[in-house]
Amino acid sequence: MPIVDQQMTKQTSPNSNPPVRKDFLAAKDFNFFYGKKQALYDINIEIPERQVTAFIGPSGCGKSTLLRNFNRMNELIEGVRHEGDIRLLGKSIYDKSVEVISLRRSIGMVFQKSNPFPKSIYENVVYGLRISGQSKKSTLDEAVERSLRGAALWEEVKDRLHESALGLSGGQMQRLCIARAIANRPKVLLMDEPCSALDPIATVKVEELIRELKKEFTIVIVTHNMQQATRCSDETAFFYLGKLIEFDRTQKIFSNPSEKQTEDYITGRFG
């Protein structure tokens, strides 16, 4: 029985969720540099557990950069450097005892452009399990069904699990990437503009999925779409020129922002 469904039956309203940890994932005085160019300035943010946090802001303000630091993906780029700290459940992700491999397993990522491997649907979903040494067929089969159901894709693909993932539609591919990420049973899901390449119908599906997934995962989503932020996020962080300008309840940000820059941005006066 897939976990998402179980939770749905157990918890009828989102308010009856167990108490959430306010600083599930947090950045402390975080600065980030691409070579000499500083991309993030003194970021302090606490991302709450099992909520959807949206990152908004004009192009180039550092949303993706911060997101990609949460799972240390940016370390793959040569010549980068950081100052300050990022903590998952209070523990520094830069601690010597943290393996970057297991960090990336517990903080899954979905990219702007869906990027399924040129393999079968099945092999895409079990990729994370296979590389961690899992090869028992029953475990893999179970994970495929659980993850695909979790990503609301199971019904559409259950009869073609062994066909190439590249034959799926754009929206299906993106949901497959989500399934692939949740197959690792991560704690956090990072999504960098997951709908920007999708048509409106596929977008609605992914947004519904995000609202569903937050019952189990802590989600951070980067978006350029204000409606999307209001539709599916609980908290919103507004970034501008590498700085975190304002971070508050989504409702508050969009109805009554404290900062002038935030207001200018959400009312479309710039960006």
């Binding site: 993906m73 990027n115 990420a181 690792n184």
Partner: protein, 296 residues
């Protein structure tokens, strides 16, 4: 190139005047296409005439015994060049066995591990230089490091010479193949917690393999036909080789030897050997392409 979409847009949205311009453009387009087609047909002429010539001169002597018998002595008729076929296969195989792992591992190193390090740049530079080195130098090199110390011409020395000849092609095409793998795949793999090694083995290599195969086939095609590196290293033999450490016949050297003697039978055999050589290379090429086309 203009695509169909823009053309139909032109016709829908532009006024009459623009319409004639569009027609003018499509005329130019057609003329250019015509020129391109003609030129590409012209490039096929040498290729086709070679094949016609090979078939015309090589077919008469083609028979089963050509593949199983030893070369005839000077002035004699009959015989075949079975030993040369095996020699070529063995030496090209040896060359591949050396150059493929070295070339692909180097390409992985310079593209996946340290793209901009000084060592990578040096490897890339040397490989590019090596592609321009005349094949005879590869022969001289293998002569110096294998034939002289061993005191004998050998298939092994021939294989070494061919591996030097093949290495830069294999390395550089493998690097291109790796560069052709979408970065999005690597990101997805790292994002799921894969190590670099896992990413290379499970995602990058499978995707790059068909393009790498093309490079390997190019190298084989070139090496199989080279005479110069083998004259200094494997030399030639009238007999079946019983080890890798003795002078060994090859198709290329046989063609070279037989085409320069005054005996018509030998000259004719050189044509047949050329035909067989070309057929081998073509078959290997097509086989590799279909195997990898089917896998994807």
């Amino acid at each position: 190139m203009d695509n169909i979409g823009t053309h139909s847009l032109d016709f829908f949205e532009l006024d009459h005047n623009e319409n004639t311009k569009a027609m003018g453009r499509s005329l130019t387009n057609r003329i250019l296409t015509g020129i391109c087609v003609t030129l590409s047909l012209l490039t096929m002429i040498p290729l086709i005439s070679i094949i016609v010539l090979l078939l015309k001169n090589g077919l008469p002597l083609l028979s089963a015994s050509i593949f199983t018998e030893l070369p005839p002595a000077a002035g004699m008729t009959g015989g075949g060049f079975g030993n040369a076929i095996i020699g070529t296969l063995v030496m090209v195989g040896l060359g591949l066995a050396i150059s493929t792992p070295v070339g692909i591992l180097s390409a992985i190193f310079i593209n996946e591990y340290s793209q901009t390090s000084r060592l990578s740049r040096a490897v890339r530079f040397v490989a590019k230089l090596l592609t321009g080195i005349p094949s005879i130098i590869c022969g001289v090199f293998a002569f110096a490091i294998v034939v002289l110390p061993n005191q004998t011409f050998s298939a092994f020395a021939g294989g070494v010479a061919l591996s030097v000849l093949m290495l830069p092609t294999i390395l550089l095409t493998a690097e291109q193949a790796l560069m052709g793998v979408q970065n999005a795949y690597r990101e997805a793999s790292y994002g799921l917690g894969a190590t670099r090694f896992q990413t290379i083995v499970r995602v990058v290599l499978p995707d790059a393999l068909p393009a790498m195969m093309t490079g390997i086939m190019l190298a084989v095609a070139r090496a199989a036909g080279e005479t110069a590196p083998l004259i200094f290293t494997a030399l030639f033999s009238q007999y079946w080789a019983s080890s890798l450490n003795e002078p060994t016949a090859s198709l290329a050297v046989l063609i070279y030897n037989f085409s320069t003697v005054p005996f018509p039978h030998q000259v004719s055999m050189a044509w047949t050997a050329s035909l067989v050589l070309v057929a081998f290379v073509t078959i290997a090429n097509v086989a590799a392409q279909t195997i990898f086309a089917r896998k994807n």
